[in-house]
């Protein structure tokens, strides 16, 4: 690609122009604007830029609801991210231990719940968590749970959300890891088998280390996505009554600031925290894994 001609460059500019404009309007713009707003004061109705100093941050981060929400989301992340990863890897290894009809059929079946998301996922979960209605009622009752209020009470809630997320997201990742395991050369696995590796050893000592970059990728991406939870606690709050707070997650709190109090400054201060986590995840993925690279065309 040395020395493209002037008309070529002009066409290229035209080709990337709409994308660049959209990126400015709908990604960079809102991020920068949220940053500006987070320092703005709204005392007199119209925003007074840089009029608030750090007040919005102080206000949002010392809100009595902030630490509980942060704690809830943290608990949820501690459960959902590592257990999700372990579950996905175990299922993928289990499927990949043999290439058979059963395995490929199951792979497709596990993948289908990915079609359920947002409010439909929440609604389905509400039915599945109600011991009077759910096909999993025997399991719930064996745990001594007879009402949905009990199932979704306090310390169980992060687990409930983790299971919901796993239900919807695991199949996609399983398919990805299955593909990654398939990418491992046959010589490698056969040599290990000759050396006396059983299927579990083979998965643990040979296949897993070879797909390590994929694992890093999954961990970061899941973390970045799960931190944003919003609709699931919002709808479960309706179903289960007061046991699930309306300010259970950070995004709910930010939403409440914007919509209930019209306090855009404090809403922005929390939204920026979430955005910061997302940005950090993005930079980590680009720097430390090979999945997304800006230099594919240069080699």
């Amino acid at each position: 690609m040395i020395g493209p001609t002037r008309p070529r460059i002009r066409t290229a500019h035209l080709f990337v122009l709409p994308h660049t404009v959209f990126m400015l309007l709908f990604a960079i713009g809102p991020a920068v604007y949220a940053l500006v707003i987070s320092f703005a004061s709204f005392q007199r109705g119209t925003p007074e830029f840089f009029g608030a100093g750090l007040d919005n941050y102080a206000n949002a981060y010392t809100d009595v609801r902030f630490l509980p929400a942060l704690g809830n989301v943290t608990q949820f992340l501690i459960i959902s991210v590592p257990l999700g990863a372990i579950g996905v890897l175990a299922i993928a290894a289990l499927l990949h231990a043999r290439q058979d009809r059963l395995g490929s059929g199951m792979r497709t079946l596990y993948f289908i719940p990915g079609a359920v998301a947002g409010p439909t996922l929440a609604l389905l979960a509400i039915f599945m968590l109600d011991p009077r209605i759910s096909p999993f009622a025997p399991v719930l009752q064996a745990m001594g749970l007879t009402t949905i209020g009990q199932v979704t009470s306090g310390s169980r809630l992060p687990w409930v959300f983790a299971i919901m997320y796993f239900f919807a997201a695991a199949g996609g990742w399983v398919a990805i890891f299955y593909g990654a395991f398939n990418g491992i050369s046959r010589e490698t696995t056969e040599a290990a088998t000759m050396d006396g590796c059983g299927p579990i050893r083979l998965a643990w000592s040979v296949k897993l280390p070879l797909v390590r970059p994929y694992i890093v990728y999954m961990l970061i991406l899941t973390f970045g996505a799960n931190v944003q939870m919003f609709v699931e606690p919002q709808l479960l709050a309706v179903a289960a009554g007061s046991t699930v707070g309306r300010y259970w997650s950070l995004n709910q709190l930010s939403y409440a600031y914007a919509f209930e109090l019209s306090d855009f400054g404090s809403a922005a201060a929390i939204a920026l925290l979430m955005l910061g986590v997302g940005l950090l995840a993005a930079i980590l993925i680009i720097r430390f894994t090979d999945f997304f690279r800006p230099d594919v065309a240069d080699r």
Binding site: M1, P7, T11, A12, F15, H19, T20, F22, M23, L25, F26, A27, P30, Y33, A34, I91, L94, R98, Q99, D100, G103, M106, F111, I112, P113, G114, G118, P119, T120, L123, L124, I126, D130, P135, F167, G172, A175, I176, G179, G198, I200, P213, G224, V227, Q228, V231, Q234, A239, A240, S254, Y255, A258, A271, L272, G278, I286, D290, F291, P294, V296
Partner: protein
């Protein structure tokens, strides 16, 4: 690899354990969907009185459907139509914007190219929901909140599409082909239009799948942006029904006069999920390919 060879090299240790575990997982992933398929066949009280997986009557699907369609003179049909056209508009605008951008980034060196690539990558990894509230703050300053375009345009921004198009044109279209075209006097536009686009069927299929699945279920952004219930999408409408009617049994004290109860809730969920299930089964390979395109093997 033949089956016999694989059996010989991999002894069948744990073979039956594997089958049992796989079937247990099938229950976990499959049972909720099976239940959802059956649920609208039951009447409200039968949700509790009949066994969970018992089938009620086929006619009850129609009954629930009539209730859904009859709600506020077909409001749900309007939401379905909104869902379809917002998704379609975001898809078409997204394709028109992202494919040429990916092409230019892959084939031409120009100033700012690397910066655009980096920003695109960051934008594609940052979860879209992280930008919802900032977008709302921006749109409310621009007085665009409430308009369908406040949903369509941000979702038409498709950094994943740009990146996949970039990788596709950088790796799958031979450089020599482009060079030959240029020697023959093709303009860049002609090259794109006559040579590259006809080769891009796989790319367009992949992007269509990704855009459709992301936007059909999109909830947070439309929930925040749409104020008038005539502009709702299905996910936002479903949410409003869950909070505003007795669609979930637990909140039955409220609005008990509503015809929308458990069977209607299950049927609406089922109708929202079905198109995606079909797309998912048909396009399973796309997901893997989409997620791993960046990891190009040398």
């Amino acid at each position: 690899m033949s089956q016999t060879a694989s059996r010989r090299t991999r002894p069948s240790v744990g073979g039956s354990t594997r089958v049992i575990l796989l079937l247990a997982l099938a229950v976990f992933f499959g049972l909720p969907l099976l239940w959802l398929l059956i649920a609208p066949s039951k009447l409200q009280n039968e949700f509790v009185t009949l066994p969970s997986l018992a089938f009620g009557e086929i006619g009850n699907y129609l009954r629930a459907l009539e209730h859904l369609v009859g709600f506020k003179d077909g409001r749900i049909l309007l939401w379905a139509w909104n869902s379809v056209w917002y998704t379609a508009a975001a898809l078409i605008i997204g394709l028109v914007i992202s494919i040429p951008a990916g092409y230019a980034l892959a084939t031409t060196e120009f100033r700012g190219r690397r910066l655009i690539l980096w920003l695109t990558l960051i934008a594609l990894i940052v979860p879209t929901s992280a930008l919802v509230l900032p977008l709302f703050l921006e749109m409310s300053t621009l007085r665009l909140v409430g308009s369908p375009w406040a949903v369509i345009l941000p979702t038409a921004f498709f950094p994943f599409g740009v990146y996949l198009a970039y990788v596709f044109y950088a790796t799958s279209v031979p450089r020599d082909l482009l060079a030959a075209g240029r020697v023959d006097g093709c303009s860049e536009w002609q090259l794109f239009r006559m040579v590259c686009l006809p080769l891009s069927k796989t790319l367009i299929g992949l992007l269509t799948f990704l855009s459709f699945t992301a936007n059909w279920n999109n909830y947070f952004l439309p929930f925040v942006m749409l104020t008038d219930d005539e502009t709702y999408t299905l996910p936002v409408g479903l949410q409003s029904l869950v909070t505003g009617t007795s669609m979930i049994s637990m909140s039955a004290m409220r609005g008990t006069s509503s015809t929308l109860k458990n069977p209607e809730g299950a049927l609406l969920s089922l109708l929202m999920v079905l198109p995606l299930v079909v797309v998912f089964i048909v396009c399973q390979r796309y997901v893997v390919r989409g997620a791993l395109t960046g990891a190009v093997k040398e």
